[in-house]
């Protein structure tokens, strides 16, 4: 009889997990907008525009940290090039926002300012669909996805692993950065895109638009969390962990790791691309420095600090590290980088499970005391 294995199927979230999820949903969709737009400035409960912008930005980072966790924490593949996918999504959105400026730019031309400056007479071919919002949405998903798919296919097929894979991803994002720096490639050179005015024909710099983007980012983050949880609760998630811990055992069980690695790698890149697309209208600029090696490493630091192999950990890590960053870069800007380095070393040495592991340890100790 099936006596022991009847309830082996995992639920998506526990009861407590669903409660926390719904509270987060409520905070993003109702509490934050109310405190920002409805409670007048000067009141204690007022949420400043600065805080909304900061939190919106950090939520984009949290999506990246979650994406990094899928590929690094669960599958054991450390990418040091996820900044590229973030930037590709950001650039796709940026191109649309540049077209939305219309002829309100400095040179009063239909062409984006930097093209006028370069004395170009018409849009290059890869700007063809940039005036369509629907096409832009497609590009935000397709470009990072396709780049990741092709890169991943060759890397995984050649069984490139571990530190070698990490180094190649780093070279990839560096090469892309050099490419985007060049004026000829048509991405605005080292200035990138900025001075956005409208999105979907609506002015971009209003409190309402800022809040709209904030809510959208929050919903995207929660949707990504739900998707990741669903994947990891399925057998697919267990195959990924098996890839991480004993890949050859998995192959001798009859699994080819290639499609599994490729699927999660591509999904992870797409999530980063979406995060980048949400980030650009909120911060108002995208330039090739987003592809710098340090940015990609920072994504890995968020995931490591939060706790690899847990879903909530990397999100908490992104909030903790970036919260500390925005505070420290104001109060003591010279020590920020030392702090970041020390944090990474400290977490690796003393908290291999990150903040999530620490929280688990503390609650367990608390439970055993009572």
């Amino acid at each position: 009889m099936n006596t022991i294995t009847m309830n082996a199927h995992q639920a998506l979230f526990s009861r407590r997990g669903w409660t926390a999820f719904l509270i987060a949903l409520l905070l993003v969709c109702a509490v934050a907008p109310l405190l920002n737009l409805w409670v007048p400035e000067g009141q204690v409960l007022h949420l400043s525009d600065y805080a909304v912008a900061l939190l919106g930005k950090i939520m984009c980072y949290a999506i990246c940290a979650l994406a990094m966790d899928l590929i690094w924490g669960y599958t054991g593949i450390l990418s040091l090039g996820h900044g590229l996918f973030f930037a590709l999504g950001g650039y796709a959105m940026g191109m649309y926002l540049m077209r939305q400026i219309g002829s309100d730019g400095q040179y009063r031309s239909e062409l984006p300012d930097f093209m006028v400056f370069l004395d170009w007479k018409s849009l290059p071919w890869h700007w063809s669909f940039s005036d369509s919002f629907v096409a832009t949405l497609a590009l935000i998903v397709l470009v990072p996805g396709l780049v990741a798919f092709v890169f991943g296919y060759f890397a995984f097929r050649s069984r490139i692993k571990g530190v070698y894979f990490s180094i190649i991803t780093q070279a990839m994002t560096y090469a892309a950065m050099l490419l985007f720096f060049r004026n000829e490639t048509g991405f605005g050179g080292n200035n990138g895109f900025t001075d956005f005015k409208r999105i979907l024909g609506l002015p971009i710099a209003t409190p309402q638009m800022r809040m709209g983007l904030f809510v959208l980012t929050g919903l995207t983050l929660l949707a990504c969390l739900l998707l990741a949880r669903w994947i990891m609760a399925a057998k697919f998630g267990r195959v990924l962990q098996a890839v991480r811990d004993a890949e050859s055992r998995l192959m001798f069980c009859g699994y080819s790791p290639l499609p599994y690695k490729l699927a999660i790698w591509t999904l992870s890149a797409v999530m980063c691309g979406v995060a980048g697309a949400l980030y650009v209208p909120q911060v108002g600029i995208i330039n090739p420095s987003e592809m710098s090696v340090a940015n990609s490493i920072e994504i890995a630091v968020w995931a490591a600090v939060g706790g690899r192999g847990t879903l909530i950990g990397p999100i908490a890590g992104a909030f903790a590290v970036n919260g500390a960053k925005s505070w420290l870069t104001v109060s003591a800007p010279e020590i920020w980088l030392y702090f970041l380095g020390a944090l990474f070393v400290g977490v690796t040495l003393f908290l291999p499970q990150g903040l999530a592991g620490l929280a688990k340890k503390l609650t367990r100790r608390g439970a055993s005391k009572t």
């Binding site: 099936n2 022991i4 294995t5 399925a234 267990r238 811990d245 998995l250 192959m251 499609p259």
Partner: protein, 281 residues
């Protein structure tokens, strides 16, 4: 006629006839195991060297369906390398390796070979440590290995029954929810054997399956292997001679990458050359 030609010919014939029986050569469905020639595994004149060291040096060996074959030999005789070659982990420099009489194993990847029906247990017990005992078995369970199926996977009642059976057989019913990393060494060995069983392979390659087991566990393993014989073919590499004596019918002695002697345990133990390689001159 070379096996490659035979294989190509039978594939072409298959294309024209579409049937299962086609006179000599007996065309089967692609991927189906052809045992008409009484061999489930067939190695001929296999050579493999690493940086000039000849790990496998003209090895020829065959296994009949349902047989339990024991392989012994001194360290460095090439036992593990032979298993690596059969399971596709390494490619030999020369030679032929066939599964049944139609499937050329040298053309398949590790995962494909496992799906064709060759299961392997490693020398060092290898299980997925953070996953529970049950999840380990579930991953190994025979079935589709595709990404979509892994996303939408639900165990059928039949599959659950099978998992329960194997859990009972490997005596880990009470541990089914425990992470496999917390099991004892012997229990890990059993879990890995259980993972092989749910895979339902036609041929099992077992590299030192009783290493680190207690006498009692070893005895239970011997009983299990004897019960598998007949339905499955088994190739067991082992150093424990009392275990070999318990299960062996035919013993093959490997030395320096080739077969030195073959026969019953008594025959090979009486063989002058075998005594020489084990005891030294």
């Amino acid at each position: 006629m070379t096996p490659e030609l035979m294989e190509a010919g039978s594939e072409r014939l298959q294309h024209f006839s579409g049937g299962r029986e086609a006179g000599y050569g007996r065309v089967l469905e692609p991927g189906a195991l052809d045992l008409a020639h009484g061999r489930i595994l067939y190695l001929e004149d296999v050579h493999m060297s690493f940086d000039g060291f000849k790990a496998i040096n003209g090895l020829s060996l065959d296994i009949t369906p349902g047989e339990l074959r024991c392989i012994i030999g001194p360290n460095g005789a090439g036992k593990t390398t032979m298993m690596d070659i059969i399971t596709g982990k390494t490619r030999p420099d020369a030679g032929q390796v066939f599964f049944g009489s139609t499937i050329n194993l040298l053309r398949h990847s590790e995962a494909e070979i496992a799906q064709l029906g060759i299961g392997r247990k490693f020398q060092k017990p290898t299980v997925f440590e953070p996953l529970s005992v049950f999840e380990n078995l579930e991953l190994a369970l025979k079935g589709s290995r595709s990404v979509p199926s892994a996303l939408w996977h639900r165990l059928s009642g039949e599959q659950r029954t099978r998992l329960d059976e194997v859990l009972a057989l490997i005596q880990l019913q009470d541990e089914w929810q425990r992470p496999a990393g917390l099991l004892s060494h012997g229990q890990k060995q059993w879990l890995e054997i259980g993972m092989l069983l749910v895979q339902d392979p036609k041929l099992l390659l077992l590299d030192e399956p009783v290493a680190g087991m207690t006498d009692q566990e070893t005895e239970r393993t011997a009983e299990l292997f004897l019960s598998l014989k007949g339905r499955h073919s088994l190739m067991v590499v082992e150093h424990d001679m009392s275990f070999i004596a318990r299960i062996a019918e035919t013993v093959t002695v490997l030395c320096d990458g080739a077969v030195l002697a073959q026969g019953t345990l008594d025959q090979v133990q009486a063989d002058e050359r075998v005594i020489e390689v084990y005891l030294g001159r």
